[in-house]
Amino acid sequence: MSCGKMETRILAYVDGRLKESELAEVDKHLAGCAACRLRVNEFRAVGDLLDELPMIEPSGAFNARVHALVAAEPSRKRSWFAWLTPSPRVAFVASMLLLATVWVETRSGPEPAPIEATDLPVVENADYDVISSFAPLSDLSQAPSDDDDNDVPQQQPQQM
């Protein structure tokens, strides 16, 4: 293995994150390369120096501020447009309906030929005259009953 190839492995080697096969390869290279050995030690030293920085604790009000932000969030209601959002259940039902329609269509036989108007027999009834069978209004024998006048306001003749 070359020193150039060490570039992508040196940090993983320092971290102990190399695979067995890679580890053996790197160990073999390091055994014969003083420059890379020095680099490994220097990277370890850098790692130790980074560990020296202290951690900080969030301020006492941190959680309260997060709670306030969360509490100020509007509760999510499903908008009208949510109905248009595809869901697995809706998609399943729609595809089942489509399949059922196709199935019904394929099972029904060929459509009967449309009936032409000219094919229908013309029934003529010479004895029945529609117009003359209606009696004129003046021929009504009885006056309309009170029940029939409920909807129409009755006009009383004014006496002078």
Binding site: E7, T8, R9, I10, L11, A12, R17, L38, N41, E42, F43, A45, V46, G47, D48, L49, L50, D51, E52, L53, P54, M55, I56, E57, P58, S59, F62, N63, R65, V66, L69, V70, E73, R76
Partner: protein
Amino acid sequence: MTRSDVQLMLDVKAGDQQSFELLLQRYRTPLVNFLYRMVRNREQAEDLAQEVFLRVYRAREDYEPSAKFTTWLFRIATNLALNSLRDHRYQKLEISMDAPIVADAEGGDERMMEVADEHPDIEQHLVEDARKKMIRHAIEKLPEKQRAAVLLHKYQELDYAEISKILRCSESALKSLLFRAYETLRVELAPLVASSVKH
């Protein structure tokens, strides 16, 4: 039995506020530290960490456990930090035209904490203070993406696959990025590194 992050998040999705509280307790310190080391300002780091939790809460209903929870969490945090650095870079440029230069104004937070510690030897305290300042500045000088990679690798101990997803790069690109970052740190911290290696 401790519930996993993913399980907690699924419970939050189902409407369990207590699970959100547990996630908050679990990740508030790592998040604030990561963001503090990214943006070098405690107040800003806390604001950003709060924004991260708010975004997690907002996204609860659409949450799908397709990746590790920490990958998702730190991706939000990294994006917010990088955006904030970009915005504040211009602000700083504008301010620096008029404002007087204050030496190491950003190091104040840690120094205040350290003063509270008991140091029997003032000289030793000064040496340690200078050492920490040097390490802080070395991290600060790294390009933003390299800095994020180092912080996620060193302090959050995330694996390469996770970090590469957070930074949206390939694993091999991440390894090169980390190598360059550690090379820069090795050079910047050469006096400290040399004394460590000798011992």
